[in-house]
């Protein structure tokens, strides 16, 4: 067995050990939680107050340290799994490492280097499939790890701003039905920019959801009530929609353009807000980005007029 293969075994064994560490940490945190409740009560007793405060501080620090150890453990496990997947792809973990020089597997996927003559094409394919499966399986953990790493480097608020901005973009991308969502986009951008990052972006998402169910319905009813289909292109579009309930079939280009139109202003305002550029700049930049998105969308609708059209 080569040195690298031996290390691979050690890493595998260590990952198993890390999984076994989670339970005692959780149980300790529960015990600490109970102890904190007791010491919180003891702080009401004048004779015990000072000792209880010190104890409470120790318990709080221990709980925080355990939480951080748990996070470090998860990051290490993810990193180790990725490392194992990379070396599995190079044939080391599959028992064919006899002729594998130290570090020789650094080529990663697609550069399988079977050692000892044991590496058939089928074994290579199996190793590649195993590596691909491991990579897909660890994707959520990698996302979490990336988020935590970013939070470590740039601060929790900024990381939250980006994370929720990404969620907002995805969620908002599903609402691109009619032009009345321009109002929703502006409100979303303002909310995302004015409020602090997590709350602001959550508000942006919430407004997006509300817009779907409130703004559209109200405007449709108003249009029907006044029969204002010919008053303006906007009202005409609403009237048209009221007469023809959505059986929308958009082309891919329309979906992409419409998603960009909604996602860009929210993302821009969120990022600027999260990085502390100030609400005004965030709103202006978000609105400008929205204008750019509108142009992109309009070009996708070339030949269909300036309003979004459905194929009925």
């Amino acid at each position: 067995m080569s040195e690298l293969a031996a290390v691979t075994r050690e890493v595998q064994s260590f990952v198993a050990e890390l999984r076994g560490l989670e339970r005692p940490i959780h149980r300790s945190r529960e015990a600490i939680g109970r102890a904190r409740e007791v010491t919180a009560r003891q702080q009401h007793d004048p004779r015990l107050r000072r000792a209880a405060m010190i104890r409470q501080d120790h318990l709080t620090r221990a709980d925080r340290a355990l939480r951080e150890a748990l996070q470090a453990s998860a990051r290490s496990a993810t990193s180790a799994e990725r490392w194992l997947a990379q070396h599995a792809a190079s044939g080391v973990a599959g028992g064919s490492a006899a002729a594998q020089p130290a570090g020789g597997g650094g080529g990663g996927l697609g550069t399988a280097a079977p050692g000892g003559g044991g590496g058939s094409a089928a074994a290579e394919v199996a190793a590649l499939l195993a590596a691909a499966g491991a990579a897909i399986g660890s994707a959520p953990a990698q996302l979490v790890q990336g988020y935590r790493g970013y939070a470590d480097r740039h601060g929790q608020k900024v990381a939250d701003g980006y994370a929720f901005g990404a969620i907002a973009s995805v969620v908002a991308g599903g609402f691109n039905h009619t032009i009345e969502h321009n109002a929703q986009e502006l409100l979303s951008a303002v909310a995302g920019a004015v409020l602090p990052p997590p709350a602001g972006v959550m508000a942006a998402i919430g407004i997006g959801l509300l817009a779907e169910h409130v703004i559209v319905r109200v405007s449709e009813r108003a249009t029907r009530a006044t029969d204002a289909g010919s008053y303006s292109s906007f009202a005409h579009e609403l009237h048209h929609r009221a007469q023809h309930p959505p059986q929308a079939r958009w082309t891919t280009a329309e979906w992409v353009a419409a998603s960009a139109k909604v996602a860009i202003p929210i993302a821009v305002s969120t990022v600027l807000s999260a990085t502390g550029s100030g609400p005004l700049l965030a709103i202006v930049a978000g609105a400008a980005a929205g204008g750019g998105g509108w142009c992109v969308r309009a070009s996708a609708h070339k030949g269909h007029g300036h309003l979004p059209r459905f194929e009925h």
């Binding site: 620090r61 221990a62 951080e68 150890a69 290490s76 990725r82 570090g103």
Partner: protein, 75 residues
Amino acid sequence: MAGLPSTDPAAQRVLDGCALALRRTSRGADALASRVGVVLGGSATGTDRELAAELRRLAASTYQAAAALELARSR
């Protein structure tokens, strides 16, 4: 300063066991990080270096957690 009533013995055992496991993990992570660094040497890839760095962070984090636990259970 008046003394606090002693902690629940069962909780003490839980904390003791966890501190022990954390110390063991800390030593293991440190040793494994060194092994990865030595074996891969100059040909280490980004993934290799990332694993070694994460293991060292884990070693430090679990060491601190064990110390904090021991302090918390000392009364």
